[in-house]
């Protein structure tokens, strides 16, 4: 697996898949908020035959309560978010696509989504050059989803991965990336995920 492209802040498809699968397993063993389900790998072959290489990372059915986050919510008033991480061949980086809907099914508008975001996310969206929300066609569905534009990703990742040991870089890429984009869209990514190189962790079934 090529560490050299990671030095440039980009990622090969093979590294993306490997990093994604490592993240799925890691996520299962760390403590995350109750409202967060497990990440899943969704294979989808464009040719019709699902293959391991083609696919995306998905975190679906994330609940969020508009208004008081700690109130015992009725299921009627929650908002449900789906997050997809898709590999961009043109930018050679992961791209976050997401959409939210009301409990009844109605899609949320960007304004409604922003109302759900904590203030530090809004601040980040307002300030950072590479985390602005646009609406683009989801590469695997013929429908527009919200997305964080990938044009500044590689520059940012170059900085983030400085100091990470070379052999860990491809596995560390997605957690490091998620720690930033997650903030922008109000997704709470536990620090444990990123601190992989401090934890003795072995891939396993549990």
């Amino acid at each position: 697996m090529g560490g050299s492209s990671i030095g440039e802040g980009t990622l090969s498809l093979g590294d993306f898949v490997a990093s994604a699968k490592a993240l799925i397993e890691k996520w299962k063993v760390i403590d995350v908020e109750d409202s967060l389900p497990d990440w899943q790998w969704k294979p989808c072959g464009k040719t019709g035959v699902p293959s391991e290489e083609e696919g995306y990372l998905a975190l679906e059915g994330v609940y969020r309560n508009p208004g008081g986050r700690h109130a015992q919510s009725s299921s009627e008033s929650v908002h449900i978010y789906d997050y997809h991480v898709v590999y961009s061949f043109s930018y050679k980086v992961p791209v976050l696509y997401f959409q939210g809907h009301q409990a009844g099914g109605q899609l949320l508008t960007l304004d409604e989504i922003k109302e759900d975001l904590p203030s530090h996310s809004l601040k980040l969206l307002g300030e950072s050059k590479w985390t602005f929300i646009t609406r683009e066609e989801h590469p695997h569905f013929s429908r527009p989803w919200f997305t964080l534009h990938p044009c500044g990703t590689s520059d940012c990742m170059k900085l983030l991965l400085e100091g990470v040991e070379n052999k860990d870089q491809h596995v560390q890429y997605l957690p490091a990336w998620l720690s930033v984009v997650g903030q922008a869209v109000g997704l709470k990514i536990p620090l444990e995920l990123y601190e992989m190189h401090h934890v003795s962790w072995k891939p396993g079934n549990n």
Partner: protein, 1041 residues
């Protein structure tokens, strides 16, 4: 903790269950929208769907029942399902309109579903597929036009004459021993791991005396008996509270009815982060004494289960949930909205091949009067690839004729101006404008020009090659020769439109020649061995030069054509363009396309499109239309084998020689030199009246006529524009609607800048930018209609509208009824008859149209000026003592009623063939000018084509009815009926006596009209004597859709 407190309560009490929340995703409704539009059409029968159930996943939130895009797949083809998506069968009932949705008997539907559940319990099906206990029902109305869905969901729960009593309910952790809990947790982990069992929401739990737990399918119930094992009836519980989920109710009913168990121990299974949450799961006991009568054959159980409905309470009016689909894909929405009317054709008539239309490349030679209209109508048909060739510029005097241009375009090349005008009506259209003259047979070309002409020839050849269909709209005869030759050579569809002063010819050229078989090299055969038949072995149809016996020399200088084309009746272009585009669409949908044989009107065809003629010729002033079939002539100067062989052999040398040498083509084809003016070609079967070129047009009368247009939609736009072309300068337009994107392609005046503006105001600017001297007014107002009852707080404003309309009618000279419902024409018809105003109705069916002028109002018997006295003495004749002609309502045997609310979308949306409105508008405006010029005006008697002697202005019929698919045009005459609900003396007397009180009564209670006019009695006697009225009504009905 609240949950704990609730769970700990011990006294027996009625079972309380948590309702299931439903998340019906936008993607599902979008899938339904497409299915409805593309496949289901008017079919509103129930559809089997699949919903997805899951045990509680998060501590704080109950799980939602998902209805997602996969849900719409037919269950047999739907393999979607996983641990958090347990498939559950359901039924979707999607109605055709809002009223249908509101009128659904929700209680009855719920019972019917409950009966299915009971049946599955009895028959043992539940053991095979336990998810049947969760069967659900969705009722909806998908409003395709506005991209909204209204719906309600129900989970029917059986109710019997005995009640479920909860005896105990505790957290599982309080009931189970530690070892039992651990063993059960492991068993659940296994159960949830297997793809076979994880989707099964109901199951049995065995706990043996040694604390080991096993989970089994319901069908293994017998094996779970005895051995001192504890048996719990387990199920996935979606809820997060201290009481069980809704699924338990039917589960207990099942256990009790099927296995005769009165006391049920149950287990509510919940999860946390994908792992069993034994802590928060519930264990309880409920009793349910066997009910009575449930096993009788026709027993229908009571049921509850609509969202928001709770047990024991009377179900109140349910508020539908609403989903807005417009957020799902804003980009594709405009295009989909524009194409909707084409898709709706497939609901009842014939499926339009949208892909083919979107892919076909059309070349339009000419961007003038015909070019504008044809380009726009092609776009309405869903054509998305257009190339327009023209060498002229837009001039001020053309603006009223050439429908797309505005005053800003004056002096600009037409091909430059037309592109943005098409784009602003349909952004998906690809238009290319090419500034170029079509090389003509000119003969006196200077040698210096020859090379540039040869270049143009080559360019034209490239253009013909790269397009699929060529429209010859260039209005000069000499300019048609080369394109005709090129199309015949490359076997391209060519459609020619020729206009005379008041007559037109629309034709498709035949296919090019095939080759004779003879072992010859294909390339040589293409030149040397042309067959007289086409590639399918059929006789070739002719081109526009075939039936002409002469190759015309410079008609420009003879003046025959140009003189005529310069002066053509307003409206003729609209009629001819409508027919040309219709011919195109028919041809494209014919399996043989260019090779399709020519049909003649009056013959039968099996094709669902109707007839596909070769040529049609018509005359506005004579109100006739005929179809002609003529085969390719072996002497034709454009498509005969002699010409094609020579062209293929010598290419542009041949073309140059043909263009420059006057006798060359004649010598080549061997035709004798017969000079015949071009005009005689179109009029071969329709002799042009000698006076036609000099019809006296009284411009003063036209410019001072005050015209009131009711409706500013497809008909309103075209009629307003054609009236301006006629010379009318005083227009008032009434409409209540706003411009929406689906209007843009069909309603000729609006552009995307007008979106969301009221039509009544948007149209004014559009008229002025075509004719600065027009005096146009717009009034945003809904026309009060019978059968649309008015609530007391609306009454004042509706009364105002009635009075306003009455003032408008009396302050105008002519009223055009261009609305799209029958009932909206009633009040204007009444007011016109009352004030003796000219009223012209134009109405569209799917492929048929009606244009009629209403008769004059009645005269009085004694001529008394006293209004009240006059009301009693209305004469059966008009003031000239002639029998009154009928109005739009004279053939009706029922009063006009609400014709919209109960209908399907295609009926509500005026699904008509594109082009039909152009034809109808052309006829309506023409009828008006004829009437205005008639010495008797509104009192002119109705004439019938072919019988009446015709005045200098041509025929003035009472009604014109035409059908696109049958290619017929009828002139009809009908007199005013004494039972008419709008213009009979009974109605008029009542109106004169009671005024707007009478009108308001009719609006609220249309059947009152039937009593008043004697229709009620007539119907009774008709029913008695079994007269067949029905056909007549249906026919009229269709006219008005």
């Amino acid at each position: 903790m609240a949950a704990r407190a609730e769970a700990a309560a011990a006294a027996p009490r009625p079972l309380q269950a948590a309702a299931i929340g439903v998340c019906a995703e936008t993607g599902f409704w979008d899938a339904l929208r497409r299915l409805k539009l593309d496949v289901l059409g008017t079919d509103d029968s129930p559809i089997p769907i699949t919903g997805y159930y899951t045990p509680r996943q998060y501590e704080k939130i109950a799980s939602l029942f998902r209805i997602c895009p996969e849900s719409i797949l037919p269950p047999s083809a739907n393999s979607f399902g996983d641990r958090n998506n347990c498939p559950v069968p359901g039924t979707l009932l999607n109605t055709n309109n809002m009223r249908g949705f509101q009128n659904l008997d929700r209680a009855l539907l719920l019972k019917a579903e409950a009966k299915k559940i009971l049946h599955d319990i009895k028959s043992g099906k539940v053991e095979e597929n336990p998810a049947l206990l969760l069967r659900f029902l969705v009722i909806s109305f998908a409003d395709l036009k506005n991209w909204k869905v209204y719906y309600n969901v129900a989970f029917p729960s059986l109710i019997f004459d005995s009640k479920i009593t909860l005896l105990s309910l505790k957290l599982a952790s309080q009931v189970l021993k530690q070892e039992e809990a651990t063993s059960l947790s492991n068993a659940f982990t296994e159960w949830r791991k297997s793809s076979e069992t994880t989707v099964v929401p109901f199951f049995l739990i065995n706990i043996s005396p040694d604390s080991s737990a096993t989970i089994r399918q319901l069908k293994d119930w017998k094996a779970c008996q005895g051995n001192g094992q504890k048996l719990l009836f387990g199920f996935y519980d979606h809820g997060n509270r201290g009481f069980p989920g809704w699924a338990l109710r039917n589960y207990i009913a099942f256990v009790s009815l099927r296995w005769k168990i009165e006391k049920v121990h149950f287990f509510c299974y919940r999860e946390k982060r994908g792992r069993p949450d034994i802590q928060q799961s519930l264990v309880g006991e409920a009793s349910f004494p066997a009910p009575h009568g449930w096993d009788e054959r026709d027993y229908v159980p009571e049921a509850i289960g609509w969202e928001g409905e709770t047990a024991g309470k009377e179900s109140k009016e349910m508020k539908p949930k609403e989903i807005d689909l417009s957020s799902i894909n804003p980009a594709s929405q405009d295009e989909e909205k524009q194409l909707m009317h084409l898709k709706l054709m497939g609901w009842r008539h014939f499926p339009v091949n949208l892909d083919k239309l979107a892919g076909v490349r059309c070349l339009l030679l000419g961007a003038g009067t015909l070019g504008c209209e044809v380009a726009r109508l092609l776009m309405t048909w869903g054509v998305r690839k257009l190339t327009v060739v023209d060498d002229g510029c837009v001039s001020m005097s053309d603006l009223v004729k050439q429908s797309l241009y505005t005053d800003k375009d004056c002096g600009v090349p037409r091909v430059t101006a037309i592109v943005p005008h098409l784009k602003e009506r349909c952004s998906a259209v690809e238009v290319e404008g090419i500034q170029m003259g079509i090389p003509k047979l000119e003969y006196n070309i200077s040698a210096s020009k020859i090379s540039s002409i040869t270049d143009d020839c080559k360019r034209l050849q490239t253009l013909v090659d790269s397009n699929d269909v060529v429209f010859l709209l260039n209005e000069t005869w000499e300019g048609m020769w080369l394109p005709t030759l090129l199309c015949a050579d490359k076997n391209k569809i060519a459609i020619t439109v020729l206009l005379g002063y008041d007559n037109y010819l629309v034709m498709r050229h035949g296919a090019g020649p095939g080759t004779k078989s003879g072992g010859m090299d294909e390339g040589i055969a293409q030149i040397e061995n042309l067959s007289t038949q086409d590639a399918l072995g059929r006789q070739r149809l002719g081109c526009c030069f075939c039936s002409d016996t002469t190759s015309l020399v410079n008609s420009d200088h003879n003046g025959a054509l140009d003189q005529q084309s310069a002066v053509i009746l307003p409206g003729l272009t609209s009629v001819a363009s409508g027919k040309a585009v219709e011919l195109f669409a028919r041809m494209l949908h014919h399996p043989d396309e260019i090779h399709a044989p020519g049909d003649i009107a009056g013959t039968d065809t099996e094709h669902q499109l109707g007839l596909l003629p070769h040529q049609m010729q018509g005359s506005l002033s004579k109100c006739v239309l005929s179809t002609v079939l003529c085969n390719s002539s072996s002497n034709c100067i454009a498509c005969s084998n002699a010409v094609l062989s020579e062209y293929r052999r010598r290419g542009f040398d041949f073309v140059t020689q043909a263009i420059t040498c006057p006798t060359y083509l004649k010598d080549l084809t061997g035709i004798s030199d017969l000079k015949k003016p071009f005009a005689s070609k179109i009029s071969a079967s329709i002799p042009v009246s000698k006076t036609s070129a000099s019809i006296p047009v009284n411009l003063e009368k036209l410019s001072s006529a005050r015209c009131l247009l009711l409706g500013a939609g497809t008909l309103g736009c075209d009629v307003a524009r054609i009236l301006m072309d006629c010379g009318v300068r005083k227009l008032t337009v009434v409409d209540s609607g706003r411009v929406v994107v689906s209007n843009l392609a069909r309603q000729s005046l609006y552009t995307s800048d007008d979106r969301d503006s009221p039509k009544a105001s948007a149209i004014l600017g559009r008229l002025r930018e075509r004719c600065p001297s027009v005096d146009a007014k717009g009034i945003k107002m809904e026309i009060p209609m019978p059968g649309h009852p008015v609530s007391p707080n609306e009454a004042v404003s509706v009364l105002e509208d009635c009075k306003r309309l009455q003032e408008l009618v009396s302050s105008h000279d002519a009223v055009f009824l261009l609305t799209d419902t029958r009932e909206s024409r009633w009040l204007p018809t009444l007011l016109c008859a009352n004030e003796n105003k000219i009223a012209i109705t134009a109405a569209l069916g799917y492929d048929s149209y009606l244009v009629m002028r209403h008769g004059a109002g009645p005269g009085t018997n004694c001529g008394s000026p006293d209004v009240v006295a006059a009301a009693d003495t209305l004469s059966a004749e008009d003031v000239l003592g002639r029998q009154r002609l009928g109005c739009y309502f004279c053939n009706d045997v029922v009063a006009p009623v609400d014709s919209v609310s109960n209908r399907t979308l295609d009926q509500q949306c005026t699904v008509t063939r594109p082009g039909l409105a152009s034809i109808t508008s052309g006829c309506a405006a023409d009828l008006f000018t004829r009437m205005l010029h008639h010495p008797d005006g509104i009192h002119a008697p109705g004439e019938i084509a072919g019988t009446s002697s015709e005045g200098p202005l041509g025929l003035l019929p009472h009604q014109i009815r035409g059908s696109l698919s049958q290619y017929n045009l009828l002139t009809l005459l009908g007199y005013s009926s004494s039972n008419c609900t709008a213009c009979s003396n009974a109605v008029l007397s009542e109106y004169r006596r009671r005024g707007m009180d009478f009108v308001m009564q009719v609006i609220n209670e249309p059947t009152y009209l039937e009593d008043l006019t004697g229709l009620t009695d007539l119907m009774k006697s008709a029913a008695y004597s079994q007269v067949e009225w029905i056909d007549e009504v249906d026919d009229d009905d269709e006219m008005d859709i």
